[in-house]
Amino acid sequence: MGGASCEESMIEAATFTFRGQMICESFTEFALHRARRLDLEIDLGACDAAAAVLSVRGQGDLVDAFEMACSLGPYDCIILDIERKTAT
């Protein structure tokens, strides 16, 4: 339990590539809102109609929550694939 506690509260950085049918403005606004809510630092990368790249940093559980939230995406985007690269 103690070990898990330390692991779970670790700060984690991850770079995501969300692929699918993207509307950049909509997806970016959505991602920024979720990152703010989850107290994550976020750096936006490239975005086009097929993919969006971004990096976040914060508590590991909240990075996971961010990934889950963005996998659903805003109503006008369809996320088909997520690539995650983690650097702790």
Binding site: A4, S5, E8, S9, R36, R37, L38, D39, G58, Q59, D61, L62
Partner: protein, 220 residues
């Protein structure tokens, strides 16, 4: 009146027992009114930041309220303190339910986003007995017009005193939507032996007023 504009009556104090919660609406804004175990009342936006579940469906645990959906627990300030699925998580300060300032006066729970606004004042509290909250299918304006016709002596736009069969009622009207209103009524004065009888009498009178108002609205 909107919560941003001043103090809005949202429930009778007696309707919100300790360790319970109830939903209410003020001009379309959904709120939860809940009372913690120590008796302090809280009024918040009725929405868990996690998945949008109504907090009014939640459970009060001590001075926290837990969302029904995933059990996220919020302290009296609206700050999320515990997420059961992540028990060791240091919950960030960004996970918070928007709150309103609340106060109890004259047997009514009031809430506002503008605490500097003046609260309706009828002088020193002399005791009050709850009559009832009456939910009416008409606008707050129409409800107030009907009360004006009964002789309501206004304290503010939405509140007033109503002399009635030797008693004095304090009336506070809450606009729920443009076609729904709540009329909160309390009997002023120290409790007496026949309080229950008088309470029932005034409740029946208000029900008659509701019937008349809804009939008028239906055939307008």
């Amino acid at each position: 009146m909107k919560l941003e504009a001043g103090w809005v009556p949202v429930a009778l104090s007696s309707s919100i027992e300790a360790a319970t919660s109830a939903g209410a609406v003020v001009e379309g804004s959904e709120i939860v009114v809940w009372r913690d175990n120590s008796g302090v009342v809280h009024v918040w936006e009725d929405r868990c930041p996690h998945r949008g579940m109504r907090m009014s469906f939640g459970f009060v645990r001590g001075d926290h309220i837990a969302c029904l959906y995933h059990g996220w627990q919020y302290d009296a300030g609206g700050q999320c303190r515990y997420i059961p699925a992540h028990p060791t998580l240091d919950v960030p300060s960004t996970i918070k339910v928007p709150t309103y300032v609340s106060q109890e006066k004259y047997g009514i729970v009031w809430a506002t986003a503008s605490p500097d606004a003046a609260m309706p004042d009828i002088g020193p509290a002399v005791g009050s007995t709850p009559v009832r909250s009456l939910y009416v299918d008409c606008s707050a304006t129409d409800a107030l017009s009907a009360l004006d016709a009964e002789g309501l002596e206004h304290i503010s736009t939405d509140t007033g005193l109503l002399a009635c069969d030797g008693d004095k009622l304090f009336i506070a009207v809450q606009a729920i939507t443009t076609t729904k209103a709540a009329v909160h009524a309390v009997l002023l004065g120290p409790p007496s032996a026949d309080n229950a009888k008088r309470q029932a009498h005034h409740a029946r009178r208000l029900e008659k007023m509701r019937y008349a108002l809804e009939q008028a609205a239906e055939f307008a």
